[in-house]
């Protein structure tokens, strides 16, 4: 099996990865092979089998509504220290597209 170019582009857009045409082709082929190998799993009859999201049986783990529990806050300086672009106590980012949806043209890039 192979994943179509269209699907690869769609997934790359969801994942915000600007892929090259080469990568699109490569991942289409590789994802197809990996998922093909997983046929043994995907074709298995699992009627009535509950899913396991977690292998532990804990429940009701909470923290108390207490300031700085279980960890203290950072100062503004510490919070911004790793910021690639910082302005007036904020993280600065480029223009936000109004609908927040990745533009179609972005994925394939040189």
């Amino acid at each position: 099996m192979s994943i179509s170019r269209e699907e690869v582009v769609h997934v790359a857009r969801l994942a915000r990865l600007a892929l090259t045409e080469e990568e699109i082709a490569l991942y289409g082929e590789q994802l197809g092979r990996i998922l093909g190998h997983a046929d043994r799993v995907t074709s298995l009859d699992t009627e009535g089998v509950p899913p396991t999201a977690q292998a532990i049986a804990l429940a009701n783990v909470f923290r108390p509504d207490v300031l700085n529990e279980p960890a203290p806050c950072l100062s503004q300086r510490e919070a911004l220290a790793n910021g690639p672009a910082v302005e007036a106590g904020h993280f600065r980012v480029p223009r936000i597209l109004e609908d927040g949806d990745p533009s179609g043209e972005e994925v394939a890039e040189e």
Partner: protein, 483 residues
């Protein structure tokens, strides 16, 4: 096209009034310097893990129970995946197919009657940070860049989703108002503190009866007022489009508060694929019967029940009951004041509270929590007026003074020498004197002209320095003019 039917469903996000955020120990609050209420967890630093705030879970359960929802024996969190620069992890921890609460109902009353609105679900999630759009007067379009503040990121939110059971913008507003009252009664949210602590998304469609209209989602409704305005605008817009032979597309629209219109945001073909999956960093919430009991027993009498009781037990009109019950503070105040004015018709206490005290407070930018007038003092004041010790007009003067000094009304009456003369014999002499001094007027009245009677009352009040009981004066005048 008047036979078109409007269908409205709401999605409400409400910030919970916990001390700390949903998944970390940072303070929850408004304003302040940017990025000062943040830590590695709510900034989404690599390696950090969420740990849920027990109080937030309890508040959400309280809300779900108050809205008549069933509480899931085991509910879980999911990750909702999408990129946005104000969302630190680029996924929101939310709930998906097993929320805390399912299937409730809330009744709302408008001029058109009472309607039961179904509650689809109540769930917990975390808020995002805030983007400040630069170079465009603060608007996202045309901004050249944005600044991110994560102080709000991770604030606990409860999301309440209704069935599409409302049929008019008025019902939409009434629902939101009733919900706000309930949240205030539950003491789980600072619903009155700030615009934005309750935010609405609305689905509205217009179609001929029995048909399904295209659903239009309206976003960015940050107050009751914008909710109502946007619904009213959108209802008219859709009716006009349909009336003109056009069709409505299933779409998302943005409410522009300044220009008072909705604008298209995106059509559903661009819909996000959120790739929900169970949040592996968190474990299920399985409320024990004891915990549920403790949470439920903390739920006070809620507005619908209280409204019924105010009408039945205090004899209030539905209108007065509605006004007082809408705010827990006002309703509590009323009950305390009515108790202090024992033997007085509660209706009078309600009038003094709703018309006189609340009006004065809002003029002065105060409220029932900050005022110096205690419910007991207001009850005593109403007692003085109702018992005839002072007149209503004097009572208002006393109330003004109480608001400033906080002193008991009796003390103010005493100091100002205010009293009401109600004794018949005492007043009879005054009335007789006034009638004698104005025999021409008396003759005109006896001749059938009722108009100058007001003049005589004025003269009597003047003669008693305003202390005459107006009811007794009226009574004496009637008797003596006939005699």
């Amino acid at each position: 096209m008047s036979d078109l039917v409007t269908t409205i469903g709401l999605e409400i996000h409400c910030e919970l009034a916990t001390s700390t955020k949903m998944f970390c120990g940072c303070a929850v609050g408004f304003g302040g310097e940017p990025n000062t209420r943040v830590c590695q967890v709510c900034l989404g630093h690599p390696g950090t893990l969420p740990v849920p705030n027990e109080q937030a879970v309890a508040y959400a359960i309280k809300i779900a129970v108050a809205l008549g929802c069933g509480i899931a024996p085991s509910s879980i969190f999911h990750r909702k995946n999408y990129f946005y620069p104000d969302m630190p992890k680029n996924y929101q921890i939310s709930q998906y197919d097993i929320p805390l609460g399912l299937k409730g109902v809330l009744e709302v009353t408008t001029d058109a009657g009472t309607r039961a609105v179904g509650i689809t679900r109540v769930h917990l999630e975390e808020d995002t940070g805030k983007s400040l759009h630069m170079g465009s007067g603060g608007r996202i379009h045309d901004a050249t860049y944005s600044l991110e503040d994560f102080n709000r990121a991770g604030t606990p939110l409860v999301e309440i989703v209704t069935e599409p059971d409302m049929t008019s913008p008025e019902e939409g507003r009434a629902f939101a108002q009733e919900l706000r009252s309930i949240l205030e009664y539950l003491e789980v949210s600072d619903v009155r503190l700030e615009e934005g602590s309750m935010r609405f998304d609305a689905n509205i469609s217009v179609a001929p009866p029995g048909e399904r209209g295209a659903k239009v989602e309206v976003k960015n409704l940050n107050s009751l007022k914008s909710l109502h305005r946007a619904l009213a605008y959108e209802e008219v817009r859709q009716r006009e489009v349909l009336g003109g032979g056009g069709a409505i597309d299933q779409s998302t629209r943005h409410w522009d508060e300044r220009s008072g219109v909705t604008r298209p945001l995106r059509t559903k073909e661009h819909a996000f694929d959120y790739r929900y999956f169970p949040e592996p960093d968190l474990v299920p919430i399985k409320p024990s019967p004891e915990w549920l009991e403790a949470i439920t027993s903390g739920i006070p009498e809620l507005p619908p029940a209280r409204r019924r009781r105010f009408i039945a037990d205090y004899g209030l009109t539905p209108y007065d009951a509605n006004v007082l019950v809408a705010s827990r503070a006002a309703a509590d105040y009323f009950e305390d004041a009515a108790a202090a004015a024992a033997g007085i018709e509660p209706k009078q206490v309600a009038n003094w509270l709703a018309n006189d005290l609340l009006g004065r407070l809002s003029e002065r930018g105060e409220d029932l929590e900050t005022t110096r007038v205690t419910p007991q003092a207001l009850g005593a004041l109403v007692g003085l007026v109702a018992g005839g010790s002072i007149s209503g007009a004097q009572g208002k003067v006393v109330l003004d003074e109480m608001m400033v000094s906080g002193r008991p009304p009796a003390e103010i009456v005493e100091e100002k020498g205010l009293k009401q003369v109600s004794g018949r014999s005492e007043l009879k002499a005054v009335v007789a004197g006034v009638l004698a001094a104005n025999s021409d007027v008396v003759d005109r009245i006896r001749g059938g002209d009722a108009k100058p009677q007001g003049f005589l009352v004025g003269q009597i009040m003047k003669a008693t320095k305003g202390q005459a009981n107006p009811a007794v004066v009226q009574e004496l005048l009637k008797e003596m003019l006939q005699g």
